[in-house]
Symmetry: C2
Subunit: 339 residues, 2 copies
């Protein structure tokens, strides 16, 4: 049997299975509690409870970085599976229901004992910046046994999130998935999730990326942190020799893609009113990979990534709420007319 005959999925995503609990808060709310703005902080069940009790939860939506990317890909018509750990509780069932409704296969066995389904408390300040306080719960118990070789072998891409690096079990799962992908001749995509995580794990991440990763997603701060530099050009020069494609998001400056001798800068979509930047990077990755799977040029992949990201930042929550397909068609049509 050749490699191609076995393909069932475009992408299998492996990451934290989390439900996002969203609340709008003031900057004061953060400072009073000594909470760091703009990044992701892991909290225990107790701290999560304290924050949760003080705020008014606006919405609960399924989240998780790679899970969001899979949701975007599925909305764009790609065939996806997801591997991640929930507990068999109300939030866990919500996560499974949400991901199933958008057509993503999700067969990881839920925990029947141990910590509850993980949640990310997302506090959105008036500047649309989000600060995340994540209680990982069941998510961090994803382990090597959850990585099904058959599923990896059936997907063109395995899509990993670097949050998995933080715990031995989930890190083992990540390495197992990467090795199986390599064994079966599949591509590996990795998204760097948070600058603090990159700083903590970069000495292990760099050789992992060089050995296993074909496609890297990161924002500007994360890629700079990976190479411990303040200079984006230095970071881009280093990553290009380690990898096939790296796509770096730059907020309102758009994104840049490096691949061998070619470096492509793409302007950001103009967004009138940014409501909540949660999921922007995750959905950029969805749009980019969707276009890449259709063999689009890298500049067009980045453009479509930007279009998809622009949708998710106009509302609360990190999952798309409009037809991404028609949004892309509309934007590309406008774009053709203007050029």
């Amino acid at each position: 049997m050749t490699a191609e005959q076995n393909i069932i999925y475009d992408v299998v995503g492996i990451g934290n299975a989390l439900v996002d609990v969203l609340a709008k808060v003031s900057d004061k709310f953060l400072t009073e509690r000594g909470l760091t703005k703009g990044s992701m902080t892991l909290v225990d069940a107790k701290t999560a409870g304290l924050i949760y009790n003080d705020m008014i939860a606006e919405r609960e939506v399924s989240g998780g970085s790679v899970a969001n990317t899979m949701a975007g890909l599925a909305a764009l018509g790609n065939d996806c599976a997801f591997i991640g750990k929930v507990y068999d509780d109300e939030l866990g069932q919500k996560f499974k229901r949400d991901i199933g409704r958008i057509g993503i296969d999700f067969e990881t066995e839920p925990l029947l004992k141990g910590p509850a389904t993980g949640r990310s408390i997302v506090l959105v300040t008036p500047d649309a910046e989000r600060s995340m306080f994540t209680y990982l719960g069941a998510a961090k118990l994803l382990c090597a046994a959850d990585i099904d070789e058959n599923v990896i072998a059936m997907a063109k891409y395995v899509f990993l999130e670097s949050y998995l690096w933080d715990f031995e079990d989930s890190k083992e799962a990540l390495f197992k998935a990467a090795k199986l992908a390599q064994k079966h001749g599949r591509k590996v995509a990795l998204t760097l999730c948070d600058v603090n995580y990159v700083v903590a794990h970069r000495n292990e991440m760099r050789p992992f990326i060089e050995e296993y990763v074909d496609l890297l997603f990161a924002n500007e701060n994360e890629i700079k942190a990976l190479f411990d530099t303040q200079d984006l050009d230095v970071a881009l020069d280093k990553i290009k020799s380690m990898i096939e494609i790296a796509a770096i998001t730059r907020r309102n400056k758009g994104s840049v893609v490096v691949s061998g001798k070619i470096k492509t800068f793409v302007e950001a979509e103009k967004v009138e009113d940014v409501v909540d930047s949660s999921g922007a990077g995750d959905l950029y990755a969805a749009g980019f990979l969707h276009a890449l799977l259709e063999d689009k040029p890298l500049g067009i992949c980045a453009l479509i990534g930007g279009i998809v990201a622009s949708e998710v930042i106009t509302h609360y929550g990190a999952r798309p709420e409009t037809s991404l397909k028609s949004l892309i068609r509309k934007k590309l049509m406008q774009y053709m007319q203007n050029s």
Copy 2:
């Protein structure tokens, strides 16, 4: 009859029909004669004769900026025609023979009275820089009557050189060709040929480009001169709103392509020993347009442009001397293996 049914040529090039007379000289040879290094200077028959008598001509090869580009395109398998003016003398017959041998249709009536076939004395200094002293002769008598509407209507692209701007007759020919291309729904490509020409004509060139040109080729100095700025980014920002695609060559820094929201930087091919940079821009344009005609992504167009340009600078003369097709295949294969 729809537009597509009528296509016979990929590209019809319109430019100066010149024969290049090549000589290796020292820097002193230039300074002693008060000749400006690195650019193109128009000279009269008498000055051309004076330079010619003092030097040892190494080779005579057919040249002319757009004619070189057509030669590259033909070598790459594209169907091309050329429109330009020679006198019915020895050099004119050489020009016609050379261009015919590589399969380019060239039907422009030669002059039977008036100035001789134009020639460009190309003095190559030890740093591989070329300084050109051009006696236009018959070339500048190209006129509107030479632009055959049928030929324009039969080509996907009309490819013009900005040298034509310098004389009323050839400028009329250039405008007529652009207008006919627009009338028949054909694309117009323009190459900016020399920074002095751009400075002299930029106030007329900018509206011409905005109105007629789809694809612009220029080097870094020329595009900056077009907008009277020292800042490449400023120039790129301005050109992108006027045009579909602009491809800007940057010598050993490679090239940059702007198209709408997308800006693509491509590194230069590494060339061990640059012998004569004549024709580098012309052949870059050939490689770029060849790839564009195959609907390749712009980054790949620029990469192939760079590969083709790298061939022509390793020997004297501005026409390719090896199989460009196999060179591209070989380089792209190396490139895939390294990434």
